[in-house]
Symmetry: C2
Subunit: 234 residues, 2 copies
DNA sequence: ACCTGAACACCGTTCAAGT
DNA sequence: ACCTGAACACCGTTCAAGT
């Protein structure tokens, strides 16, 4: 009787490290990183929690594996970009950073996870090697390239700490005059800035206040321009 | 009979929000952020875990409070620095960032906690207002100052993601030739860089590889110089 | 080789109750 | 007003046992 193959809960495709990690990414994508528990992950795979331990050592190792999944996706996103590095290393690195950012926007939980990983995994080494290739094509010394890697930091991986959510209590119209007056007094520059910037660039997104993409690019270009200048001076 | 005041475990000084938050910082300083549990914190205060909930709403609120404690320490560290902003805004901001970094080095767990806070607390607003004051003294427009805040990001708060620990398995001398050969082939730029940089700056720290302080300052100056150039062009 | 059940040592948190 | 005990719903993880 081999009929149980299609009988629903019985004999599902066997677990594997790959399947566990993919499922983990999916769980985090759908429910956020706090949804990624060993027990919840197991359930999403229609398996008992303890079965996972046969394929990953523990939760830390699971997160390490998940981080590598993201880096690999990043390598794929970046693969089709490689063209004439020698002609425009700055543009190449810019494109690469923006590609990385696209990946991170698909997995909003990923930056936080990557930041907690400390080990240097093979795919990450590969990724950094690719960035160094761009620097060398541009003629930077290894010394400058090394500093540049640190300086660009998480930006070459596609994320910056976005600092703060849209607004603390943006729905409270109850900013009474007393509070406002005190803010004017104690935080004059902040208040003035908010007044000035808010009008600036029209109603492009919901709040029209801080456009992450714009700020990401601003910082990226600021560093790339600075590096170019340093490279020229070497 | 008021003698129980000195009788040891009885009638200790009563809890308060301040005492809870200070104790929380101390626990994290001594045992790392993972030591900061409601139960552990309570024990350090010689109190039951549930007593904490009278002074903080929950653990998130506790972390919010702890983050504010750090920002306030930061404001104190930065207070004695204020001098002639108009003459040298870049230097002023540089000093401020380095002061902030000193605070973060005293509380190594703090950057990770601050990064998870989303709300804009009063002390944080005050801190940002101070930075804006510097930008304005330097003649930057609010538009540029706003971009600058985003670009400098966590650097004005004294931290950068230090990326990676000293080494993944730095104690294994077992890097056999096969592995090394494969690395040379797949990661030529990384291998070459490591060879070149390692010798560079002598045996200053243990590994002599990545000096966080140096990299922090490199990135900081890179951005400040870039901003200065943009400000001059405005 | 791969998966599981029962159990352990931890979490944060509620709620009714004590002083 | 401030603190507590007992209990609940969750964690990650071990270990001996199943197939």
């Amino acid at each position: 009787m081999v009929a149980e193959t299609e009988a629903g809960s019985k004999s599902r495709t066997p677990l594997s490290r790959e399947r566990v990690l993919s499922a983990a990414v999916k769980v985090a994508d759908e429910g956020g990183i706090e949804a990624l528990t060993m027990r919840g992950l197991a359930e999403s795979l229609d398996v008992e929690a303890m079965s996972l331990y046969y394929h990953v050592a523990n939760k830390e190792a699971l997160l390490d594996g998940v981080a590598d999944m993201i880096i690999e996706e990043l390598l794929e996103e970046v693969a089709p970009l490689e063209t004439d590095l020698t002609r425009d290393w700055k543009g190449a690195l810019r494109e690469r950073s923006l590609a990385a950012r696209r990946v991170m926007l698909r997995h909003k939980w990923a930056p936080a996870v990557l930041e907690t990983r400390t080990r240097m995994s093979p795919p990450l080494l590969l990724y950094f090697n690719g960035i160094l290739e761009i620097f060398k094509a541009g003629g930077l010394s290894y010394d400058l390239a090394h500093h540049a890697l640190h300086a660009l930091g998480s930006r070459v991986l596609g994320f910056t700490q976005e600092m703060f959510d849209p607004a603390p209590g943006s729905d409270d119209e109850e900013v009474n005059d007393a509070v406002m007056a005190e803010m004017m007094e104690r935080l004059p520059y902040l208040v003035e800035m908010m007044g000035e910037i808010a009008h600036d660039d029209g109603p492009d997104d919901t709040i029209g206040w801080c456009d992450d993409q714009t700020e990401f690019i601003f910082a990226l270009d600021l560093m790339l321009d600075g590096l170019e200048r340093l490279a020229a001076a070497e």
